[in-house]
């Protein structure tokens, strides 16, 4: 079945540690890729997006993600996390061409990140 997988459900890091959250998808063809963040008590916010071009995408708050087409992956990274990065992170995929294309986003189940002081 077509899906979006986030392998890490819960991640705990100390401040200043480096972060990498995995995201893999199983849709063939062209895709649009997104990372959303949900801070405690707040709504989903767009962190970054990839449509085409440079596969290394930079987003807000020092986050970046790399699209590796051969691996069907779009991992999120940040070199040095802060306590304020504590949140839930969602990867989302929109197949843009093919039988599964449409306008809905297909979300992973999310990764809960806790950054300790």
């Amino acid at each position: 079945a077509q899906s979006v997988s986030q392998h890490n459900h819960h991640v705990i890091l100390s401040e200043a540690a480096s972060l990498e959250l995995g995201c893999n998808y199983s849709y063939g063809g062209t895709v649009n890729l997104f990372w959303y963040v949900q801070y405690p008590g707040q709504h989903l916010q767009l962190l970054l997006k990839y449509f085409s071009g440079d596969p290394l995408v930079k987003g807000i708050k020092g986050f970046e993600a790399e699209f590796i087409k051969s691996k069907f992956s779009f991992n999120l990274r940040k070199p040095s996390v802060q306590w304020s990065d504590t949140a839930e992170y969602f990867c989302a995929v929109r197949p843009s061409i093919g039988p599964n294309s449409g306008y809905a986003l297909n979300f992973g189940k999310g990764t809960s990140l806790l950054v300790t002081p």
Partner: protein
């Protein structure tokens, strides 16, 4: 400018009652989406509106769910004869391109 707004923020209802959830998209956004976020299920697509086109209802879980969008702006999601499994956070998003911007959600609790 103002983001996507949703009302009410919380709704508690009894099993079997009907509920209406409202979404006010970002001004100028032609596309509007409803999603449901429930524990263990993640975010599920429900329905999508684009301009005056017929909505994509492919994600609605049953015929108890319906939605309309009046005048290409405000949308209402209606759940008839609510069941306990309908308890979730209902999220609305709008877009002008492909990036969707989400509202704060309505937390629905069915007792």
């Amino acid at each position: 400018g103002a983001g996507v707004s949703q009302s009410p923020s919380n709704k508690v209802t009894e099993k079997g009652k009907d509920v209406e959830l409202r979404c006010d998209p970002i001004s100028g956004h032609t596309a509007l989406y409803w999603y449901r976020q429930s524990l263990g299920q993640g975010l599920e697509f429900l329905i999508y509106f684009q301009g005056n086109s017929a909505p994509d209802k492919s994600g609605l879980p049953s015929d108890r769910f319906s939605a309309e969008r009046t005048g290409g702006s405000v949308s209402t999601l209606t759940i008839q004869r609510t069941q306990q499994e309908d308890s979730a956070v209902y999220l609305c998003a709008s877009s002008r391109g492909f990036a969707q911007y989400f509202g704060p959600g309505t937390r629905l609790t069915v007792l």
